[in-house]
Symmetry: C2
Subunit: 476 residues, 2 copies
């Protein structure tokens, strides 16, 4: 066995060459992104069939790997970084974040506790505090990064369980805890209740008003009824920017109720919270000063690639009480400024996620970020105007942010056919939802590169698909 | 608002320049890694104090960000990529993985379900199947990537809960479920029980033998006793490569018991499972063919940066039943090859993690990987020999893999002083554990760059620190 197997000079220079080639590849990819179809033209199994059944016995050269990346992997990629990606919530792997991820992978430092990487522990606090200030959230909010909003919200509900029953971690979950959220809330809230042992039957989905916002009076009624049946209401999840329509629950009124019944209030602002970076949108988080936790995903609308979910709580001690479990081999030093993030959740290993976020926050700055967010909201309002003016289309929800829900005034089948036709073009990718029992089209603007041109093109494709559909119907 | 705000040519070329500079920086960092102290010489708060209290209003240039990265962030990094990193479990951000992460961040594709990125869904299946074959695991094991072993094991225990009580997701967690694991198992198992609503008091920590392996006869006794008290044993977690000593639970005997009582058997092989890439180590997974799930972390010993935990289960349908929020009767007639990984766990968003793993598997190949793993095991055995031969030191556990547990034949205080002195050198970083009530030193070899030179240096530093300690004691 040679003393210096790796890293040898050859290993380093091999990386340097391939690294430069990869940077150039990324630059060309981003410069020519509109030439790719947003949705890949592959069938299930194509990629699996194109790769060998087993890994190679001998190591391969970068040239071969990168060639296969382009020939086999890339054709199966859905291009979330395409400016025509208008589905779900738009998001972006911006270039400063790519640099951050390169460095993070090269350092491979791991933040189990403070000492295992002070940089991870402290840059996470710095970036989340910067972001908190941008959104105008109170300074008693303590930030922590999880991978996804689903995992963030699960931790919020776990902290709520701990607040309601400090014996939960020892004795298991009480059978009578009840969680409240709106019927428009994200499925991750129900999934949190499943995971934590609360059970789906203990989740109350409160009805919404005609603008898809939770109705506080129904929330209060449900709580009173559950208490009178001997159950224990312990948590309310309000949403700022629901997944279908981006509707905004009345957080202040919900906070009144949550506080009155001593319940944990979690705000799911995974998508829309970022809008509060613009002062004229900070009203959306009004009531957060009386909430217990909030989640906002920079990997949605803040030009940060997946995964980076920013979770904030005003009660970090309760979260830590719920999860801390320190064995001797991990016992760290005690210093109040040396935060050990492993005490605040399920994962022990911790990537250096804040590094890419720090790059993004500094590269764009507050005003650059505001300009981008406002441009997306403007584009959505413009699109909404086109829908409103068109005799054959109707808008089916308000447009508080950068998402428009609308439909062709025809059958669900018509709308299904339209979206399929539009998505087949490869130029744009829209997704759909269901509202009031109807199939609804949805355009979501959030990619760094999306411009008026892309939105106009989407609208033209939609109108064309609708016109073609009429022709087909008339002919048949 | 200009039509072409971004990506403009300027944005792309700005990235290209900074990207090339960053590749060169990484190459130099890795080439000169031994010049950095493994543990950073910072105090809690240093990094936070060195950065501005708020994010910038205007965007900044890459030069300024990269300069601060070097001046402020880097000095607070614990260098897990240093060949002298001999703490916890060694791990590596190898260069093929850095390329994979660059591309993954640039594509920013997100695998919610198959269509949102066929490449994510299918490359995950390909790479985990390749890895499964390397370890000699049966082909009925279905692979899925989670971020960390803690999260993988939590999903295993959730599937176990589902198997024991298919009503759990609806009604919440039964109060009488009992989980069994050894007193040497990782804290994440107990944390899973806390999270899932099972409760710490329903975790039985079975005693170990003098080689730190779970004692199957005590497991059986505990199960029988719990059944007779009306409790429901539902899950056993065996460990192959425990965190303190890398001991190997007798999986086959444990599988006999788990199967007899219809319990889910999960194998935590987060660290040591990778050794099975070498055929002479595949015996460690004997019994896995009768287990229900297993976790192995490529981000530990397989030269893949955090995070990438490979979870395998022979019962993916049970896992899906536990977590899918699309009721089975509504599930559309789908292509069985179009896997939707979101149905198998808590997170909905999914990074393109398999890409870096695919780069790693191909770059090293099976024989390259075997050579590295064997070299680490050889180095550990050599180190163990030095300890055994030294009159003032003693080894306190067998060395089946690449970790040696040992101590100076003195007080706990002596050993504490020795490790502190050694770690202050900046040349190596060791961690400690507790065994049989004693403070124990631990050397863990697993970094790509660790050579005989590093291990010899560690041993010299340890001996020197012990000798100095004797002098100090004699003088005082």
């Amino acid at each position: 066995m040679p003393d210096e197997l790796l890293p040898s000079r050859e290993y380093i220079e091999d990386f340097r060459r391939a690294g430069h080639a990869t940077v150039d590849w990324i630059a060309e990819y981003l410069a020519n992104i509109r030439e790719y179809p947003v949705l890949p033209r592959v069938s299930p199994g194509d990629l699996m069939d194109a790769l060998p059944a087993s890994a190679p016995d001998s190591g391969e050269a970068y040239d071969a790997i990168l060639r296969d990346f382009e020939a086999v992997v890339l054709p199966a990629v859905t291009h979330w970084n395409h400016p025509g990606f208008l589905a779900y919530f738009g998001c972006t792997g911006s270039t400063p974040a790519v640099l951050g991820e390169m460095l993070s992978a090269a350092l491979n430092t791991n933040g189990l506790h403070w000492k295992t990487s002070p940089a991870i522990a402290e840059l996470e606090r710095v970036t989340l505090d910067w972001f908190r200030q941008w959104m105008g959230l109170p300074d008693d909010y303590f930030g922590i990064i999880y991978d996804t909003a689903s995992v963030s919200s699960m931790h919020a509900v776990a902290a709520a369980r701990e607040m309601a029953d400090p014996e939960a971690r020892t004795n298991g979950c009480l059978p009578n805890l009840v969680l409240y959220t709106s019927e428009q809330s994200h499925s991750s809230i129900e999934k949190a209740a499943i995971t934590l042992g609360i059970g789906q039957r203990n989740v109350r989905k409160i009805s919404v008003d005609d603008q898809f916002r939770m109705r506080p009076e129904l929330l209060r009624q449900a709580i009173i009824q559950d208490i009178s049946s001997g159950r224990k209401p312990f948590c309310v999840v309000a949403t700022v920017g629901t997944t279908s329509t981006t509707s905004i629950d009345p957080v202040s009124e919900i906070a009144d109720i949550a506080n009155a019944y001593n319940m944990w209030l979690h705000i799911d602002a995974a998508y829309a919270g970022s809008a509060a970076v613009c002062p004229e949108y900070q009203w959306i988080l009004k009531g957060a000063e009386r909430a217990h936790s909030i989640v906002v995903n920079p990997h949605k609308w803040l030009f940060t690639p997946v995964d980076l979910s920013a979770f904030y709580t005003r009660y970090p001690d309760i979260l830590r009480r719920a999860f801390s479990l320190v064995p001797e081999y991990l016992r760290p030093q005690e210093d109040p400024r040396a935060i050990n993030y492993m005490d605040y959740g399920v994962p022990l290993g911790r990537r250096f996620r804040s590094l890419k976020f720090w790059f993004v926050l500094r590269y764009f700055g507050r005003t650059g970020m505001q300009k981008l967010l406002r441009s997306h909201i403007e584009l959505a309002k413009e699109f909404a105007g086109w829908v409103d003016e068109h005799p054959d289309f109707e808008r089916v929800a308000p447009v508080p942010f950068s998402v428009v829900c609308f439909r062709y005034k025809g059958s669900d089948e018509d709308n299904r056919a339209i979206i399929e036709r539009v998505n087949e073009s490869g130029r744009v990718f829209l997704s759909h939802t269901a509202l009031n029992g109807q199939f609804v089209l949805r355009i979501a603007i959030g990619n760094l590169g999306t411009t008026a041109k892309d939105v106009r093109e989407a609208w033209a494709l939609i109108q064309q698909a609708a016109a073609d559909r009429v022709q087909v119907s008339e002919r048949s």
